[in-house]
């Protein structure tokens, strides 16, 4: 089964030089950005709204709608979020490294749409090669007159700056990213009042879009909104990049339409389970997402709506597959440890709660679990994310704390027996 390739098309056809300006222009590049120069803000915003493009950073919010919220004060800024840090997510890396001009063209379009004269690309510090490629591409674009003073011969100035992160997951959260970009500690801001579209970078109106979101823009312009929408599902238009990892035969990035099933994704696209073992569970949308299990979810359609209704999310498209040899307590501990390590520390429930959860899980896995711990895990989780509902509520400033709760509720929901076994046996039954 083959699916239409859009964002990955150029790199698939020209694997050695898809990142160069020459190849980008030879394959139709920068035509759409030139078109955008002649359009008004309203026209572009309307076009993007009509395309149905949803943000690809995890929240899946309408990109056009977000743009329409931009406050009138100027200067406005565009920040492209390339701080791809959600465990299991590695699709932006491919876009940055293999087709940077596609993103830069998207940046030009988004900048014109939002009256932006200065854009920033925030790339995670662990991505030195993608950052180099992006910088090379920017340099090429400057030299060609596509960036800088009077782009494409118009009187429109646009500067683009690459900034490397310092290694904090939380800087993928847009307000923490903005703080980091300003040289401050990477801590999420209070919302309200600091919605970036109103008060963002340097307290000015700011659009923060994911790398993949921006990379979609030239294609929406090229195909028109009807064709673009037709690529995907009625509610989830266009293609979607999945990063499949874990116990599958063919892990990797896949560009797929919404609407296929998890069974198709895991068993057809990703080649099935490694060593043909049984499938135990998978994380459908990054470490923050509650887990799915084959008994309930294998034939579910992959759409934002269906995933949400089943109590999880597509998030950043990271699918982490776990086979039957996986200890869910250990897996949960590993995910919780990640969030505890990445907690910025400013608010109490996340700073203290995630660490506590990690300690309890580690103790259970080590064989010192107490009968009360199963309940304790849930109650501590409840104090971070009251009600343990989906979508989660939070006692915290940002969703990082509640993200750490997802593996706990997943284990409690689908693997209560395995957890109990750990406690009763005084150790891991899978060891």
């Amino acid at each position: 089964m083959s699916h239409a390739q859009v964002l990955f098309a150029r790199m698939a056809e020209h694997p050695t030089d898809s990142h160069t300006l020459v190849m980008y222009e030879a394959t139709g590049g920068y035509v759409q950005a030139r078109r955008a120069m002649d359009m008004t803000r309203d026209e572009i915003v309307e076009l993007v709204k009509t395309s149905g493009l949803l943000g690809r950073g995890g929240a899946a919010f309408s990109a056009g709608l977000k743009w329409s919220f931009l406050a009138p004060a100027r200067p406005a800024y565009l920040v492209v979020n390339g701080d791809e840090s959600e465990p299991g997510t590695f699709k932006d890396r491919q876009l940055l490294e293999r087709d940077p001009h596609q993103m830069i063209e998207g940046i030009i379009i988004a900048s014109v749409a939002n009256e932006v004269r200065e854009a920033f690309i925030y790339i995670r510090g662990e991505y030195p090669k993608p950052a180099r490629r992006v910088q090379q591409a920017i340099d090429e674009a400057y030299a060609a007159g596509y960036l800088g003073k009077g782009i494409f011969g118009t009187d429109y100035d646009l500067d683009v700056t690459v900034h490397l992160g310092g290694g904090a997951y939380i800087c993928g959260e847009e307000t923490a990213l903005i703080n980091s970009l300003e040289g401050k500690r990477g801590e999420p801001r209070l919302k309200p009042p600091y919605f970036p579209a109103a008060k963002g970078l340097y307290m000015m109106p700011t659009i923060v879009n994911n790398v993949e979101t921006v990379s979609n823009l030239p294609h929406i312009f090229e195909m028109g909104t009807d064709d673009y929408r037709a690529l995907g599902h009625a509610t989830d238009t266009g293609t979607f990049l999945f990063s499949v990892s874990g116990h599958v035969k063919e892990p990797g990035n896949y560009e797929l339409p919404h609407g296929i099933t998890w069974r198709e994704l895991i068993f057809d696209v990703a080649g099935g389970m490694r060593e043909d073992r049984g499938l135990k569970a998978w994380i459908p949308g990054g470490a923050s997402a509650p887990w799915f299990v084959p008994e309930h979810h294998l034939d579910l359609e992959i759409t934002k709506e269906a995933t949400g209704a089943a109590g999880s999310m597509l998030g950043s498209g990271a699918v982490v597959v776990m086979d039957e040899t996986t200890c869910v307590v250990k897996a949960a501990e590993r995910v919780v440890r990640f969030f505890s390590h990445e907690s910025c520390g400013q608010c109490t429930p996340c700073r203290e709660g995630t660490t506590w959860l990690e300690m309890i899980l580690r103790r259970i896995e080590a064989g010192s679990g107490r009968p009360i711990d199963a309940e304790l895990l849930l109650d501590v989780s409840d104090n971070i994310s009251p009600g343990l509902t989906w979508p989660p509520k939070q006692t915290t400033i940002c969703p990082l704390g509640p993200s750490a709760v997802s593996p706990i509720t997943s284990v409690a929901k689908y693997f209560a027996d395995e957890l109990r076994q750990h406690i009763v046996q005084g150790g891991c039954p899978l060891d």
Binding site: L190, C347, T348, E352, W356
Partner: protein
């Protein structure tokens, strides 16, 4: 006027200003929402999450922090719902999992918000069985403050204070998540003049003060509120004592003055009260040595010597210096004693380091400190407020940051507020008049400065930037400032209750109640109560000292004054005192001055007596007693009263409160002032005069005219440098000397010079430099200071172990000669 909106808190409808944070709106209406990080004087951060409440919104009920939610019409808030209670208990459990339960040995135990809120809102016990987080137990982050990171709950109160309020961002969070900790920067201690505030606002015992650590438990402390005596702002403070020892000062939030903050000098400058060096018995000098004696013998001696000098030479042979460190009641007693008992008009509360008394007492329209918050522009041509008045520095800073005032700073050197200034003008001491003429002219570079000052209301803080500067400059500046739109002036002088002492008539040119001494009608009214007042011409401090030196004056009465340390020209002071036939000093300590006296009488200090004080705005506040003075010490007024009886002209004061009543009777501006009126109960003190009609003295400084100004400009003599001599927060003053935590913090003597001058003289940083004035020649280490203009040197005044340079403008500076081996 903010619109009021109706919100419902726990079923009760209340009316609150739209946009007010729910936590504050609820509190103002009697519903306390627990909190750690929120502080009414700092920006909200919503970090601790303790103030979570349920709020009904159109999109359903949400659990959110009340410290970050502005009140809006129709809002329904639940502060005690089951969900709220569970969330709050959950937060407390989280905070406690890593908090050491060492409350029994923690300074904060007993007054700890974490303890209190755990009792009120917390779970009964912890479910945490893991190992707590560990850090090295308290580490000093400055000379005055210790940090225990295990106790810290990371509320960011201290870091926000240091950055937002003090402007000293020297502490910050380091690391992240569960390893987050407050830290200083490498090799850079938290050496803020305001560090102690972080101890007070810390909601746990993470920050403790070296001066108070392990000294007492809160439940053993007695507390009175009072008005700080370290500068002329009169910050509201809580004085706390255990047994008979004053152990702590804390700031009290008085919106009119300090808004809760204190400089470290004021917070830790209580140690002198309990110092072992306090005078406990009267001393008389026998054969050049002090001997302890009884009050009766000492007072007899004073009466006998003073009496015979008065009899032989008249009352005008006696001078009186001091009163600025006393209460209004004591100062009034001193003035009345000098003028009616001794029969002398030679009295002065200033030490030749101030400004014209009529200017300080009478310039109007006078600004209130709070006016800064609404100023469009602030002209600061005064001492470096960071060094001389920490609270006023914070208020100006706040006015610029939060109120949006444009600040113009004019000073011979960098000041603590330069970073907030729209314009900063630097000048050479002696050249201030010329600069003023240029500024008033508004040509060239000065046009922009004048433009900034042309938007009212303008508040001008005017004082003497340094001790070599002519006092007339400040008056000329005020004259200029009063011509600016909607302008008010805050005259600045530093010493304690100097404004109160001037209001009490302790100045050659003033009578009590801001009355000019040459006002015949007022004099007649006063004489009706006081009896005859001498009419001879009055001398100020310098005049008294010079008169003593040449024998025109024979005796000197010192009331809490130390001219040898505090008069800029120490030589003149010493010469005068040594020449005096008789010197009696009423003081707390033996000082460089009263070592030379014949009789020294032990006085009560701040915290040991009751009375009123008046700040630079004219705000009268009460100071209160919490301990008894050491040994046989007595109140100034009582000592003066005793001497008056022995001189057969009894003042016959019954009590300090009775003196206050007499002041209200005879001092027009103080009419109606009573202790009851001022009792501390969320009061901001009372400002006198209440209106111009009650203010008898209206002093109009001359407007600046270029010719007159240029005539007053002074140049240093040929080949010499212009000396800028200014005070530092910590110095060698007698109260600092006896406050051990602070004395060591005095920066020490040095000569600051511009790098170009240093290069020319062949001087490098730290090298010894010979500084020669008319009076002295001393060697000081060089500090290269590019904030000075060339041709100017700055020497901090009154540093430990350093002789006085005098206050002449010219000093000769040369590289120190190599000391041959």
């Amino acid at each position: 006027m903010t619109d009021l909106v109706k919100i419902t808190v726990d079923g009760r409808e209340i009316e609150v200003p739209a946009g007010e944070l729910v936590i504050k709106a609820a509190q103002d209406h009697g519903t306390y929402i627990p909190r750690f990080c929120w502080h009414p004087r700092m920006k909200e951060v919503g970090m601790c999450r303790m103030c979570l409440v349920e709020i009904e919104t159109p999109r359903g009920t949400i659990l959110t922090t009340s410290c970050t939610t502005p009140a809006s019409a129709g809002m329904v808030v639940h502060t005690a719902s089951e969900t709220t209670k569970k969330a709050q208990a959950g937060i407390l459990e989280f905070l406690l999992i890593n908090h050491p339960l060492d409350c029994p040995v923690c300074d904060k135990g007993g007054e700890c918000p974490l303890q209190d809120q755990t009792m009120a809102y917390g779970p009964g016990e912890s479910r945490f069985v893991e190992e707590k987080r560990h850090f090295e137990k308290p580490i000093p982050i400055s000379d005055l403050v210790f940090l225990d990171r295990e106790r810290c709950i990371l509320c960011a109160r201290c870091t926000r204070f240091a950055d937002e309020i003090a402007g000293d961002p020297l502490i910050e969070f380091k690391d992240r998540g569960n390893h987050t900790q407050v830290q200083t920067f490498p090799d850079l201690p938290f050496s803020s003049y305001f560090s102690g505030n972080t101890v007070q606002i810390c909601p746990v015992g993470a920050l403790t003060a070296s001066a108070y650590r392990f000294k007492a438990r809160p439940w053993d402390l007695r507390r009175v509120e009072s008005s700080c005596s370290h500068c002329t702002v009169g910050c509201s403070i809580a004085v706390e004592a255990s047994r008979n020892d004053v152990l702590r000062f804390n700031g009290v939030d008085n919106d009119a003055t300090n808004q809760g903050w204190l400089s470290d000098k004021c917070r830790f400058g209580f140690e002198f009260i309990g110092s072992e060096n306090r005078l406990r018995t009267p001393l008389i000098k026998v054969d050049g040595e002090f001997q302890e004696t009884t009050w009766a013998d000492a007072l007899d001696l004073v009466a006998e010597r003073l009496g015979s000098i008065i009899e032989e030479h008249g009352g005008e042979a006696v001078g009186g210096i001091g009163g600025a460190r006393s209460t209004n009641e004591d100062a009034y007693a001193f003035g009345k004693f000098m003028r009616t008992v001794v029969g002398s008009n030679h009295l002065d509360a200033q030490l030749d380091d101030g400004l014209d008394a009529r200017f300080l007492a009478g310039v109007s329209p006078r600004a209130k400190i709070g006016d800064l918050d609404h100023a469009a522009a602030i002209l600061l041509w005064a001492p470096d407020l960071k060094e001389e008045s920490g609270s006023l520095y914070l208020r100006v800073r706040h006015a610029v940051q939060e109120g949006g005032a444009k600040l113009v700073v004019i000073h011979p050197r960098r000041t603590g507020l330069d970073d907030r200034a729209t314009h900063k003008l630097t000048y050479r001491p002696g050249q201030g008049f010329g600069l003023l003429a240029d500024l008033a002219g508004g040509e060239g570079d000065y046009a922009a400065v004048l433009e900034t000052l042309s938007h009212g209301p303008v508040v001008a803080i005017v004082g003497r930037t340094g001790l070599t500067e002519a006092p007339e400059l400040a008056e000329a500046v005020a004259g200029f400032a009063l011509g600016l739109p909607d302008a008010t002036v805050l005259p600045f002088a530093r010493r304690s209750n100097v404004f109160g002492a001037l209001d009490m008539g302790v100045a050659p040119s003033l009578l009590p109640g801001r009355v000019a001494a040459d006002d015949a009608e007022a004099m007649a009214q006063l004489e009706a109560v006081w009896g005859p007042i001498p009419t001879h011409e009055a001398r100020d401090t310098l005049g008294i000292l010079e008169g003593l030196a040449v024998g025109d004056l024979k005796a000197l009465i010192l009331l809490g004054a130390d001219p040898v340390r505090d008069v800029p020209d120490a030589t003149v002071a010493r010469r005068g005192i040594e020449a005096a036939e008789f010197v009696v000093a009423i003081d707390l300590f033996l000082t460089d001055t009263n070592q030379l006296a014949d009789v020294v009488l032990p006085a009560e200090a701040f915290g040991e007596k009751e009375g009123t004080v008046t700040n630079l705005e004219g705000r009268v506040q009460k100071v209160n007693r919490i301990v008894t003075g050491p040994g046989q010490s007595q109140a100034d007024w009582a000592i003066l009263d005793d001497i008056s009886r022995r001189l057969s002209k009894p003042l016959a004061f019954a009590s300090a409160e009775a003196i206050c009543k007499e002041i209200a009777d005879v001092a027009p501006a103080y009419a109606g002032m009573t202790w009851e009126l001022l009792e501390w109960d969320e009061k901001e003190g009372a400002v006198v005069p209440y209106g111009e009609a009650v203010q008898p003295l209206i002093h109009h400084p001359a407007a600046a005219d270029r010719k007159a100004l240029e005539a007053m400009s002074r140049q240093p003599s040929s080949g010499a440098f212009a000396l800028h001599l200014a005070r530092t927060l910590y110095d060698d003053g007698v109260l600092m000397r006896n406050s051990l935590s602070l004395h060591a913090l005095a920066p020490g003597a040095a000569v600051h010079l511009h790098p170009e001058d240093a290069g020319r003289l062949g001087v490098t940083e730290g090298a010894l430099v010979e500084v020669k004035s008319v009076d002295a020649s001393i060697r000081l280490p060089a500090v290269l200071d590019s904030s000075l203009l060339t041709g100017v040197v700055y020497v901090p005044f009154n540093q430990p172990w350093t002789p006085s340079l005098g206050a002449a403008l010219s000093v000769v500076v040369a590289a120190g000669k190599e000391v041959s081996a």
